[in-house]
Amino acid sequence: MRQYKSFRLFKGKISFLMDSRAVAITAVLMILTVAMIVGSTALGDMKINPLTIIHVLFGGGTELERLVVLDFRMPRIIVALFVGMSLAVAGGILQGIIRNPLASPDIIGITGGAGAFVVGFLAIFSTETDNTLTVSIGWLPVAAFIGATITAFLVYLLAWRGGVSPVRLVLIGIGISALMQAFTTMVMILGPIYRASQANIWITGTVNGSSWEDVAVLVPWAVLLLIVALMSARKVNVQELGDDLAAGIGSRVQLQRFFLLLVSTGLVGIAVAFAGGIGFVGLMAPHMARRLVGSAFGALLPASAFIGGMLVLLADLIGRTVFLPLEIPAGVFTAAIGAPYFIYLLFRTRNI
C-alpha cells in the first residue's frame, strides 16, 4: 500500500499529490544530478580533482584551474542542465495536454520552426565567399527563439476553431513541422556545404561554446518557467482526463490549454535558442519518468526535469570527452544513451 502525501500551498492554489516512493525516487534523481554536475566538471581534457573544484568555487585554485572550471566547463554544464530540464518538462506537459505518448516539441513544430529560422538566418547573413557572418552570431539564439514562438502561435491559430482540440493541434503541428523541415532541407541543399554542415550541427544540438552571458539569459527564464510549470501540474492532470471531464470538474479547458502551451513553448524556445534542436529529451524523458514515479504530473514533472537535465549533461560529457580531440554535439548522444535505458525500462515495467 502506497502512502500518499499531499502538498497544499497558498490555500490550495498549488496542490499536488505525491506518493512517498515517488518523493524518494525524485530525491535520488536530484542527488544523481548534483553528483553528475560535479563529475562532469571534473572530467574533460584536463582532469580535476572534485575537491579542487570546491576549492575553485570558493575562490582558490591555480589560474589554469580557475579558467577551465569557471570559464569553460561551468557555463556549458549549467546550460546543458537547464536545457535538458526545460525540454523534458515541456515534453511532459505537451504529452499531458495532447494526450498522446508521441507528442513532443518536435512533433508539434516548435523545434522545426526554430530550425527553419536558424538556417534562414545563416543563409541570409552569411557571406558567399567564406564561412563568416555579417552580423554577430549572438543573434542566432534570438532567431531560434523567434522561430519557435512564431511557429507555435501559427499552429495554435490554425488549430483554433471555436477552441483547440488536442488531435487537431497535433495534426496541424505535424503539417507545419513538415513545411518547416522542407524549408530547412531546401536551404541546406541549395547552400554551400559548409553552411549545411554548420546548420546540421545546430539541428543536432550542442551546448559547446556556452558562456556566462548565455547562462545569465537562460537560467532566470528557465527557472521562472519551470516553477510556473510545476505549479500548473494540477492543471495538466485535469487536462489529461479529456475535455468533457475536465470541463465537468470546473476547469476552464481552453484557457488552461492555451496557458500550458504558452509555458511549454517558452521552455522549448529558450532551450533551442541556446542548444539547438536537441532531440529525444522532450519525447522520452517524460516516459522514463512515468515508469519511475507514475503518471501524476506533480511527481512526473520534477522527475522528468532531473532525467532530462541528466541526459543532456551526460550526452555533452560524452561528446566532449570520449572522442577527444573531436567535439561531438550533445544532441548525438541524448538518444544513444537514453534509448537503451528506456528500452530497459520498457522491459522491466511490462504492464502498460
Binding site: 541549395l190 556545404i193 516516459h287
Partner: protein, 333 residues
C-alpha cells in the same frame, strides 16, 4: 463530407485511379525538356532515338511509375501503422524504417565508400528491415505480447537511437553529409527501372496482403480484447500487418530514400473522404499516396528549374495546405 454508401465509394475509388493515371501522364509530358503529348505518343509508337524520346522512355516513364508505387506503399503502410498502434500520429517511420535505412546508408558511405544508388537500394532495405524487426521484437517482449503502446514507444525510442547514430556519423564526416544529404531528403529522380523492378515483388506482395487483411484490420481496430473475443487471432494478424509494413515501407525507402509525411497525412485525408472501413481505406489511401507523390515529383521539377528540389520537400509543400484544410474541418472529438 465522408462518403456513406458503397456505390459512391466505388465511384470515388475509380475517380482517384483516373486522377492518378492523369497525373502519371502529366509526369511524362511535363519537365525541363519541352515535350508535347504528341511527342510522347510518338516515343512509344514510332521511336526515333531523339533526345526527347529517350528522356520520355527512359527517365520520365520510370519516374512516374516509381513515384506512384512509392507513394502508394507509404500511404498504405501508414494506414496499417496507425491502426496497429491505435495512434493518429503513427507512420511507417515509427517502426524505425526510415531511421534504420538512413543509418545503413550512412554507414555504407562512411565505412565502405559506397555511393551508387543501386547499392543504396538494397542497403537501405536491409537497414529498414533490421530496424523494424528489432522494434517489433522489443514491442512484443513481455507477458501480454504486442500492445499498441509498447510498439509505439519502442518504435519511437529505436528510431531516435538510429537517427542519433546517423547524426553522429554525419557530424564526424562532412564528405558523407554532402553525399547523402540529397538521399536523406528523399527523391525519385535518377533511379533506373531496375531499382523499381527489384523491389516490385515485395511491393506487390505488400499491396495484396494489405487488401487481404483489411476486413480483419476493421475488427482489430475495435480493440484487442474485443477482437480476441470475436475469434480473431490478434497476435498473428499483428505479425502479418507488421510484415506488410516492412515490405511496403522498406521497399519504398529502398527506392526513394526516406520520404516522410505521406505515411502520416494521407491516411487522415483518406479517412475523412472515404471513412474508416479498411476495405476501402487501404486501397484509397494507396491511390491518394500515389497521386501526391507524382504531383510532388512534377512540382519538384518546376520550382527551381533547371535544378531539382527533393521530392520530400515538395510533398510537404503540396500536402500541408490540403492537410491543414482537412484537419480544420474535423477532429473535434
Amino acid at each position: 463530407m465522408t462518403i456513406q454508401n458503397n456505390k459512391n465509394k466505388l465511384v470515388c475509388l475509380i475517380f482517384a485511379s483516373i486522377i492518378l493515371i492523369l497525373f502519371m501522364g502529366m509526369g511524362i509530358v511535363l519537365g525541363y525538356t519541352n515535350t508535347s503529348i504528341n511527342t510522347v505518343i510518338h516515343a512509344f509508337t514510332d521511336f526515333n532515338g531523339s533526345n526527347e524520346h529517350i528522356i520520355i522512355r527512359e527517365v520520365r516513364l520510370t519516374r512516374s511509375f516509381i513515384a506512384s508505387a512509392v507513394g502508394a506503399c507509404l500511404a498504405m503502410a501508414g494506414v496499417i501503422m496507425q491502426s496497429l498502434t491505435k495512434n493518429p500520429l503513427a507512420s511507417p517511420s515509427i517502426l524505425g524504417v526510415n531511421a534504420g535505412a538512413g543509418f545503413a546508408v550512412v554507414v555504407a558511405v562512411t565505412f565502405f565508400n559506397i555511393s551508387n544508388l543501386q547499392a543504396f537500394s538494397w542497403i537501405s532495405f536491409t537497414g529498414a528491415a533490421v530496424a523494424a524487426v528489432s522494434v517489433y521484437i522489443i514491442g512484443t517482449a513481455g507477458r501480454e505480447g504486442l500492445t499498441p503502446m509498447k510498439l509505439t514507444l519502442a518504435g519511437a525510442a529505436m528510431a531516435a537511437l538510429f537517427a542519433s547514430f546517423t547524426k553522429g556519423l554525419l557530424v564526424l564526416n562532412e564528405a558523407a553529409l554532402e553525399q547523402v544529404l540529397f538521399w536523406l531528403a528523399g527523391s525519385v529522380a535518377g533511379r533506373d527501372l531496375e531499382i523499381l523492378t527489384s523491389v516490385l515483388p515485395y511491393m506487390v506482395v505488400g499491396w495484396v496482403i494489405a487488401i487481404f487483411i483489411a476486413p480483419k484490420m476493421n475488427v482489430l481496430s475495435m480493440g484487442d480484447d474485443l477482437a480476441t473475443g470475436l475469434g480473431l487471432k490478434t497476435g498473428l494478424l499483428k505479425l502479418i500487418a507488421g510484415l506488410v509494413v516492412i515490405f511496403l515501407a522498406g521497399s519504398a525507402v529502398a527506392v526513394a530514400g526516406p520520404v516522410g509525411f505521406i505515411g502520416i497525412i494521407i491516411p487522415h485525408i483518406a479517412r475523412k473522404i472515404i471513412g474508416v472501413d479498411h476495405r476501402w481505406l487501404i486501397p484509397f489511401s494507396g491511390l491518394l499516396g500515389g497521386i501526391l507523390l507524382v504531383a510532388a515529383d512534377i512540382g519538384a521539377r518546376y520550382v527551381m528549374m533547371p535544378q531539382e528540389v527533393p521530392v520530400g520537400v515538395m510533398t510537404a509543400v503540396i500536402g500541408t495546405p490540403f492537410f491543414i484544410f482537412i484537419a480544420r474541418r474535423g477532429f473535434d472529438q
